[in-house]
């Protein structure tokens, strides 16, 4: 039903303004038309009634004035004189004789002749003719006895009155009625446009304010005007926007607090950890002289201290990303050289197959590229299975570094969550060797360059991470 209705409404009339204007104009013109028509009908009816009354009254008065002076029984001259007194198209009859037939008289109807004879009253009948409507007036001239009784004298007077002038007056009335209705049209359009503007302006302003709110301007408000439904809507809108702004502000504050807390804790932990690391390294150098059970505990302490140090360093790095204080130190870098340096520095050269052509360069921060490659390769070595392959290639407008292992690959939806902080590949294994932040930091670094990292599975099984970095330096970076 709704769909059908929508099809029936022409596209140009779907807006609120055309519909308002159309409805207003329709009602106004219809009202003006009906009012004009009603006044036309009543005016024309009273015009017709007035004309009929005038004609019959004047006929009666003229005949009454001349009757006492009319010879009775009337001769031809008396009939002609009566006809002349009534004037116009008139016919006077008495028994078989009749007034002279000049001018030609419109044919009389049998009904009016019968009515004149039977009723002893003045009678009227309207007839249509080729030359327009006519009014027939029939008047028997009565004879009154000394007793007051009224009897027909046998003299009958017929008058044909042309209603064409009346018809013209009525036509003029109809024209003025139509004109009045038509004159209401432009006025109605004008008023409707003004009214629509008055109604639609707050709606438009509310729409603009809502759009600003949607674009992130949480301070956008609309001043309510008046006390109508639109003002209520505006007030409700403002309340909604206020609640939203408060909520967002609270969340932002809480998030900022949490991040600051993490950053503060990380920094506070770093100094004691440095001391702890130094102590643990001393212990480690003494490990050969320890009894065997103490030796295992010491090794565990050394291992956990190092992991803690890495976690804290990663946390500090993430905090710096969150705080937005990270700056790139970009230089044109040969990627094969950079990846080789990274692998060699960590002693992974023998465990990783490098497939990188010479001469692929890109503007990157070497230290950060090193972090990215180290995280991805370290991840592959820890969770995947050898051989781990690193491929470097140019793919305009990117350079691509691809790290593939031959392990079981990323299960299910892990590919989507793998870059989230503290995502664990295996939920059962509560403790992982990594900090849980490595991939998140790698992605932040890639994005800082204007690139990204995608996680997925290689066609032959095994996880595949693809790093894309822009090959050309973007203008806004420098």
């Amino acid at each position: 039903m709704t769909a059908r209705r929508r099809q029936l409404v022409p596209p140009g009339l779907r807006g609120l303004r055309p519909r308002l204007v159309l409805a207003f104009v329709t009602v106004t013109v219809l009202g003006a038309g009906i009012a004009a028509w009603a006044s036309y009908v009543s005016a024309s009816e009273s015009l017709v009634a007035e004309t009929q009354t005038r004609v019959t009254e004047s006929t009666r008065r003229q005949l009454a004035a001349v009757a006492p002076d009319t010879a009775y029984p009337p001769d031809q001259a008396a009939l002609d004189r009566l006809r002349a007194v009534v004037g116009g198209q008139a016919l006077v009859t008495y028994g078989g004789s009749r007034s002279s037939s000049e001018p030609e008289v419109h044919p009389l109807t049998p009904e009016i002749r019968a009515a004149v004879r039977e009723r002893n009253r003045l009678v009227v009948q309207r007839v249509a003719s080729d030359t327009g409507p006519k009014l027939l007036v029939g008047a028997p001239v009565l004879m009154i006895g000394m007793d007051g009784a009224r009897r027909p004298s046998g003299i009958e007077v017929y008058l044909v009155h042309d209603l064409a002038p009346t018809q013209r007056q009525i036509d003029a009335l109809a024209r003025s009625a139509a004109l009045t209705s038509a004159a209401a049209l432009p006025l109605a359009v004008l008023i409707a446009l003004l009214a629509a503007r008055g109604v639609l302006r707050p709606v438009r302003e509310l729409r603009d304010t809502a759009r600003r709110l949607a674009e992130g301007d949480l301070g956008a408000r609309q001043r309510p005007r008046g006390v109508d439904e639109l003002a209520e809507l505006t007030a409700t809108f403002n309340q909604t926007a206020e609640a939203l702004e408060r909520l967002v502000a609270r969340h932002q504050r809480m998030e900022a607090d949490a991040r600051r807390f993490v950053a503060d804790v990380s920094h506070e932990l770093r100094t004691p950890l440095t001391t702890l690391t130094a102590v643990v390294e001393v212990l480690e150098s003494e490990v050969d002289r320890m009894p065997p059970d103490a030796r295992a505990s010491t090794a565990l302490a050394v291992e956990e201290t190092r992991k803690l140090t890495r976690l804290v360093e990663d946390l500090i790095e993430v905090s710096r990303f969150d705080a937005g204080v990270v700056r790139l130190r970009v230089e044109e870098t040969d990627l094969r050289r950079a990846v080789l340096d990274c692998l060699e520095a960590r002693g992974w050269r023998d465990e990783v197959d490098l497939d990188a052509p010479e001469g692929v360069t890109a503007p990157v921060d070497r230290r950060r590229l090193d972090v990215v490659v180290a995280n991805l390769v370290g991840n592959a070595l820890r969770h995947g299975a050898p051989p781990v392959v690193v491929r470097v290639r140019a793919e305009e407008p990117w350079v691509v570094v691809e790290v593939t292992d031959h392990g079981p690959g990323l299960p299910g939806d892990l590919a989507e969550r793998v870059f989230e902080r503290f995502t664990k590949a295996d939920q059962a294994r509560a403790r992982s060797e990594g900090s849980g932040l490595g991939l998140a930091i790698a992605r932040e670094n890639a994005r800082l360059h204007g690139g990204d990292i995608e996680a997925g599975n290689a066609p032959g099984g095994g996880a595949r991470f693809v790093v894309r970095l822009p090959r050309r330096r973007a203008e806004e970076d420098q």
């Binding site: 009908v41 015009l47 019959t56 009515a115 003045l122 249509a128 409507p133 001239v141």
Partner: protein, 165 residues
């Protein structure tokens, strides 16, 4: 959506037809009272041998007006009327002039006499003749009275004792 404008068009069309029918043909309708006033003669009132008022139409061929009838009355009965025993009590005069006019509903007849010259019966003759002509020309006599004007004043409004009303 498509049905109501059709109805509106029908309503407007019927209004249009009703409007245009203002001058359409009709049947025969009443137009009021018919005119009256033809008669074979003027009704004059004389007195019979018993002194009663008696109408005697003078065959003038038409009714005529009140003044004509009053002046005819003042000439007295015709020989035929006299033979039928009719007489008049209106005094004979050299001047047979009168004036008749309407004063509101009443008819004023001014006669060339002094009031004492006209006996009561003669006055009735004039009043009845004037009212009879008025009646035959289509006027009502119920509320109409005759005021006689004399050279020395006017009479009270009078009515005719032998006419209806």
């Amino acid at each position: 959506m498509t049905r109501w404008p059709r109805h509106a068009v029908l309503v407007l069309l019927s209004l249009l037809v009703a409007g245009c029918g203002a001058l359409g043909p009709t049947g025969v309708a009443d137009g009021g009272d018919a005119p009256a006033g033809v008669a074979t003669g003027a009704p004059l009132y004389f007195l019979d041998s018993a002194g009663a008022l008696r109408a005697s139409p003078r065959a003038t061929g038409r009714l005529g007006d009140i003044r004509g009838a009053v002046e005819l009355l003042m000439t007295g009965p015709s020989p035929i009327e006299r033979d039928a025993g009719l007489r008049t009590e209106i005094p004979r005069q050299e001047v047979l002039r009168s004036v008749v006019y309407r004063r509101e509903r009443d008819i004023v007849v001014i006669l060339p006499f002094a009031s004492r010259e006209l006996p009561a019966k003669g006055a009735d003759q004039v009043v009845c003749t004037a009212l009879a002509v008025h009646l035959l020309s289509g006027g009502g006599v119920r509320d109409t009275h005759v005021i006689l004007g004399f050279t020395d004043g006017e009479s009270e409004p009078r009515s005719c004792p032998v006419l209806p009303g």
